[in-house]
């Protein structure tokens, strides 16, 4: 099943299950969504529950927040999270804080979803990763899934969650197929938000990644295995709450940690994980410096050769993993 189909199935199943769930955003209905994630939903559920909106992120994100405060469960699609900056006040200040500010009186069960991070050839203003932005806000839950199974289980959980969830997909993964377990095909398949998954066990170095970087990290682990290095790959799945326990457990075993992400290095997910590990008992288990493998600290360039240089790839992860093992410079 492709990631796109998994997301589509998750939305459909939850809309069948709960009348208060509806999906809205630019071109989600008649056009089936800019990336076809909402394909066929208009035909199945009608225009009352699959709502095309005008092109105003602050407007429709605000409508989604209002509808959630009034008891509905909106799924608000952004054509890309790069455009959601125009709506970030609604997501952060209203979505993320109202439950607390209202003394626990008013929940805001909304899902903001859409592609996040770099795609291909779309330059600086379409290529940013927002994990760190939303991940810093108490009151928001932030998910960055990788596989089809992740997408299905986590999106369903996000829709049922009583809190606002920022669901950060990756455009490059939409068409990628993953095997689905029998369990994952069930319409009651949920994955817990806030729990990472060890995708590959190993004893020599821990590689933590999320979203598309999980693909590269697994490839890197495969390459490392050929040199008899057993890398453990952790698919983060959730950015907030962050499953630091799973990472710590792995570090205790491997004594080495690298974190791979498609975002900028500064104040990023990798920085946060590194800080949490070295601040606590993890520090005593480290046999090498923690390293972050991230996007370059420049606005993403358009030219294909420069763009390729701007983001981590498999060989780079291999190299940094070996550096953690003092096998290379």
């Amino acid at each position: 099943m492709t990631v796109r189909e998994a997301l589509n199935t998750a939305i459909e199943e939850e809309m069948l299950r709960d009348e208060s769930v509806f999906v809205m955003g630019e071109e989600v209905a008649r056009y089936n969504g800019a990336y076809k994630v909402t394909k066929g939903l208009l035909d199945k559920f009608g225009d009352k529950r699959v709502v095309d909106t005008p092109i105003t992120e602050m407007g429709f994100a605000g409508l989604a927040v209002g509808a959630a405060l009034a008891g509905l469960r909106p799924i608000c699609e952004f054509m890309t999270f790069n455009f959601a900056m125009q709506a970030i006040d609604q997501i952060v200040n209203s979505g993320g804080k109202t439950y607390y500010m209202s003394g626990g009186n008013v929940p805001c069960p909304v899902v903001f979803r859409g592609p996040n991070g770099a795609a291909s050839g779309v330059a600086a203003q379409h290529s940013q990763d927002y994990c760190a932005w939303y991940g810093s806000i108490p009151g928001l839950k932030v998910v960055s899934p990788w596989s089809a199974e992740d997408c299905k289980g986590l999106l369903k959980a996000a829709i049922r969650d009583p809190n606002p969830v920022v669901f950060l997909e990756n455009e490059m993964l939409y068409g990628v197929s993953f095997p689905m377990s029998q369990e994952a095909l069930s319409d009651n398949f949920l994955l817990p938000i806030g729990k990472a998954k060890v995708e590959r066990e190993g004893t020599d170095v821990t590689i933590v990644a999320h979203s598309k970087m999980v693909t590269h990290s697994l490839e890197a682990a495969e390459a490392l295995a050929k040199e008899d290095i057993k890398a453990e790959v952790i698919n983060l799945r959730s950015i907030r709450p962050l499953d630091i326990d799973t990472i710590l457990k792995s570090v205790k075993k491997t004594n080495r940690l690298i974190i791979v992400e498609g975002g900028f290095p500064a104040f990023g997910v990798g920085s946060e994980i590194c800080a949490q590990i070295v601040e606590g008992e993890g520090f005593d288990y480290l046999d090498a410096p923690v390293e972050r493998v991230t996007g370059a600290d420049v606005p993403t360039p358009y030219a294909a050769n420069l763009e390729a240089l701007s983001f981590p790839d498999t060989p780079l992860i291999v190299k940094v993993a070996k550096r953690a093992l003092y096998r290379t410079n």
Partner: protein
């Protein structure tokens, strides 16, 4: 300026023509007639004509010629007046005791807030800015609750002491929690309206009501919210208080067009401008606006022209940007409270004695409520960490609570400043010590 009332409808077009005059037909798929006249139109008109203002009472509280006095009986009218009187009295007290606090105050906007509140159904969902305490008072949110919220004590059920003063909220009173960033409530109101339309129990019965000032209407959220409420039609009633100033910025610097009302037609929204210092005009206009809104399931815009006699907030000294004399003059002319009082007196619904009695009673009730609230302790300390998330609590909150517990165990009973501080919380923070 009111002689044009009734004769000219609010219109952005400079010339009036019927379709039959246009011999060239219409633009395809449209009702736009083809014209050969190279003509521009604008809400700012060469003849200076502006959108008319709906009014019922003159400046001495008498119905003006040809006006329609909205249906009200004596007890309703008296409740209007008492609620109006309550607002400035409450303000004066909060202002003087909280000079450093962020308590907004409301002189000059009593009629708009109370008059519109009285025109609504008690179950209409209200999304306010932060000058709409009158709506809550009208709906029976009591003085104790007001004071508790402003002081953030343990009876502040609206926010548990987490919100700034006057940032009320009460699901029971269908009043949404106030959001500080300006205008965010406007698109949210479109969402609340959408939810009401989706609810078979409330469709055709309730509407979402959104208050904001003319300054907030400069925010992108205003335009987005109006657009959303009109394109995804929902029963959403927008009430803009145009008090002439966004903090210190006069409305002449806030917009060049004909106020906020001129923008309604741009979004295909039924719009009316009303004299915001005339409570009966506000009542009548909002009643009709609400009727349209609920019946048609579409947005309606009411622009209420007021004058903020007070400062923007306690952190503002408005005499720095406007003349003291101007404010004094406006207090006397068209004073919304005295206009209603004169109206009530002319109907023999009010007397000097009652006025004296009311003033004394309000003052004493407010003082009693304030003193009571002042002596109440805060919420329990553990509430610092609750309600960040619904459902299961993430580890980071648990960890912070435990960390505070460790610190309290270490210093909370031996270090004087913390011992003292603990006493201010309900339960003295004991929940951390056991």
């Amino acid at each position: 300026m009111f002689r044009h009332l009734g004769r000219r409808a609010a219109s952005c077009t400079a010339r009036k023509r019927t379709y039959s005059e246009f011999k060239h037909g219409n633009l395809p798929h449209s009702h736009s007639p083809i014209t050969t006249d190279l003509e521009f139109f604008n809400s700012v008109r060469p003849d200076g004509q502006q959108i008319p203002t709906y009014r019922v009472l003159d400046s001495v509280g008498q119905p003006i010629d040809g006006s329609t006095v909205p249906e009200i009986d004596e007890s309703f009218a008296r409740k209007l007046y008492e609620t109006m009187m309550l607002l400035p009295t409450l303000d004066t007290l909060l202002y003087s005791v909280q000079r450093q606090g962020k308590i907004s105050f409301y002189h000059g906007e009593e009629a708009t807030v109370v008059g519109s509140a009285a025109a609504l159904s008690p179950t209409d969902e209200v999304l306010g800015q932060y000058r709409e305490m009158g709506v809550l008072l009208w709906r029976g949110f009591d003085l104790d609750s007001i004071m508790s919220q402003c002081l953030g004590n343990k009876e502040d059920k609206a926010t548990k002491g987490r919100q700034m003063p006057v940032h009320f909220g009460s699901p029971q009173h269908h009043f949404h929690t106030i959001s500080s960033p300006l205008a965010t409530q406007i698109p949210q109101a479109a969402g609340v309206g959408y939810a009401l339309k989706r609810d078979p129990e409330r469709r055709g019965k309730d509407c979402a009501v959104c208050y904001f000032g003319e300054g907030a209407a400069s925010e992108g959220d205003f335009h987005a919210g109006m657009l959303l409420a009109s394109t995804i039609p929902s029963p959403t009633l927008f009430i803009v208080r145009n008090n002439g100033f966004a903090i210190s910025t006069p409305s002449s610097e806030q917009y060049y067009g004909d106020g906020i009302a001129a923008r309604g037609p741009g979004y295909g929204i039924d719009t009316i401008r009303v004299d915001g210092n005339d409570i009966l005009a506000v009542l009548g206009a909002v009643r009709e606006a609400r009727r349209r809104c609920v019946q048609q399931g579409r947005a309606v815009l009411v622009e209420s022209m007021t004058y903020r006699v007070g400062h923007h907030s306690t952190s503002d000294d408005s005499f720095a940007y406007r003349a003291r004399q101007e404010v004094e003059d406006r207090k006397k002319v068209d004073n919304p409270v005295s206009r209603l009082r004169l109206f009530l007196e002319s109907r023999k619904w009010w007397s000097d004695d009652e006025e004296t009695e009311l003033k004394a009673r309000l003052k004493s009730e407010i003082l009693t409520a304030f003193k009571r609230a002042e002596n109440l302790s805060r919420w329990e300390l553990k509430e610092l960490f609750s309600d960040v998330y619904g459902g299961d609590e993430p580890w980071n909150l648990r960890e912070q609570r435990e960390e505070l517990g460790e610190l309290l165990k270490k210093y909370g009973t031996v270090w004087e400043p913390w011992k003292k501080e603990r006493e201010k919380f309900s339960g003295s923070g004991d929940e951390f010590l056991s």
